[in-house]
Symmetry: C2
Subunit: 341 residues, 2 copies
């Protein structure tokens, strides 16, 4: 039994007293406790692969920030890893894949589906550990990267402002792209099912790089895969967050996710005009607003909550930046927790 | 007298036989001729500061690609430079400012307006040289970065995916931000006036990083400065390109620029629904489409031209990427030049 089930009630469309709040990247460098754990290990990936410590850092923001949900500490790139594409995380630079996808043959060699997803035992153990240690204080969110975002890294090999290599692969090799996206989709579904089996009570799918695509590509290649994922997950609520995909918001809403994540480019009134008042939405405070004064922050948060109206989960439009003043983050959470509709 | 005045007639709202075409970054690494000139010099900035060679590379795409306009080879960061903030261009990394803006006092120290703009003699000489050597074959476009995009680099000191430092400055120091934006606006206006005096026949203002802002910030801080610039330039047509600012497209259209640049996130039908059929628009092919097959490229270009209808300048939604197959770029240009409404 959950002691705080506000997020689940909101995702189920129930009438609630205030919006729930959690923050993307809440389990991370924003917290001194996290930085201490992280410093004790050799690299970010070592923490991802350590179920005990991953559980510990997952619970830290529940203790320290008093948010309404925990999100498992992990990384979207464990999926390429379990499909056979090893990656590293280079300090201050980001992810790096020594081997990348160049041809259809490279894609054919990748493992996929259950066989691949089952390799991620450390993630499932971290979920099970967290679930036990959380003891129902708040719901536990599991997550995965969307097929396109994972494809970006598998082809590009690292972060990029344009992801022009991955996009050019879509244009040059549409059939091979479909194969890669299908293998990713299959694996993501099995992975999410195993997350549910190990304690995830809500799932979020992150399409972090949808904003580099145009509407036609997104509708042709990506929406069908998001639909497959959405339809495969019937056990728990699903949140879809396609960052930058304002141009496909109608198609995303048509997938009927339990909530749609929004970034700060999208005004609440615009979002409501597309998705309606009953669709639960999540977001969308600009994380940079946490650098400003607390008075301005309160005004912005109140305005955001009022503009979205009910059926809203408060969050940022992107992960919290590591150097954000911690007291502002705490103030943000407590302000939302004190709010009443 | 211009031999090819198609761009100017389009910008003046005349009925033309086909859309004009030019490409952002057409004078650049896409051309072997450019790479040869560039290799003969010590760095990109050396080329920017060399009026003879800048004129030469400006004309190269007119010769090689047969585009309908030349755009002066230069850099948006000459404005911070002339205001007293020196920058370098680091190979494969991008711009780097050894000193950045931290406080209001840093902003107060900056030069601005005519006094600053007059220092950029090498740009005006490059324009005059180009103008003479072009001999009226096609119109010559001058350009400047918009105040926000320049502010991004002056505070951040380099490129960034989020420009969170620059954004946080807007939130933390709104009054100092206004001062910086005003000093930039003043300087940009004087700079553009001097460009006109030296041969620029069209001006484009690039707000490359508008997409990191939300609608409220863009309307509050940036639209008023774009209005000032737009209203100050009465001598030649002005193209405004605020990349990623779909959420402010109505406000941009209200400034009545001679053309509005669009990126590929914006579907032609969406753009037309906001700006109307009479507003000239420019764009918006995804540069990655040039990596695909020529047959697909033709289909996309024809569809784009038909969807925008008349009052359209063909261009990409971003600068052409350096590794694009040159024959595809040439095919793109010749296909558009062979098109008839």
């Amino acid at each position: 039994m959950l002691k705080n089930d506000l997020l689940l009630r909101t995702l189920n469309g129930e009438t609630v007293e205030r919006p729930p709040i959690w923050l993307m990247r809440q389990a991370g460098r924003i917290l001194p406790q996290y930085r201490k754990v992280r410093a004790s290990l050799d690299g970010f990936v070592a923490l991802v692969k350590n179920p005990d410590l991953a559980a510990e850092v997952t619970i830290q923001p529940v203790d320290e920030l008093d948010v309404d949900a925990a999100i498992i500490f992990s990384d979207i790139l464990v999926i390429p890893e379990c499909m056979g594409l090893h990656y590293e995380l280079i300090e201050k630079k980001g992810p790096f894949f020594p081997t990348t996808i160049h041809t259809r043959a490279d894609i054919e060699k990748l493992d996929s589906g259950k066989q691949a997803a089952e390799r991620l035992d450390y993630v499932y153990q971290a979920l099970a550990n967290t679930s036990q240690r959380l003891d129902g204080r708040v719901p536990l969110i599991g997550f995965a990267g969307a097929p396109w975002t994972l494809m970006c890294y598998m082809i590009e090999g690292q972060g990029s402002k344009t992801f022009s290599k991955a996009k050019s692969f879509l244009y040059r090799e549409p059939a091979a792209s479909e194969l890669l996206l299908d293998k990713l989709t299959e694996t993501i579904i099995e992975y999410l099912k195993l997350k549910i089996a190990n304690g995830a009570q809500v799932l979020q799918v992150f399409d972090s790089w949808s904003g580099v695509l145009d509407q036609k590509l997104y509708k042709k290649f990506m929406i069908p895969r998001l639909r497959q994922i959405r339809e495969a997950i019937t056990e728990v609520p699903v949140i879809l967050f396609s960052k930058g995909a304002w141009f496909a918001l109608d198609e995303i809403a048509a997938l009927k996710p339990n909530a749609i994540g929004l970034d700060w480019n999208i005004e609440p009134s615009y979002a409501r005009s597309i998705v309606g008042d009953h669709q639960v939405v999540q977001g969308n405070l600009d994380p940079c607003k946490l650098y400003g004064s607390v008075a301005d922050l309160e005004l912005s948060v109140e305005e955001m909550i009022k503009s979205f109206g009910r059926n809203h989960i408060v969050n940022l439009g992107h992960g919290v930046y590591p150097d954000t003043p911690l007291d502002h983050v705490k103030h943000f959470v407590s302000f939302v927790k004190g709010y009443r509709y």
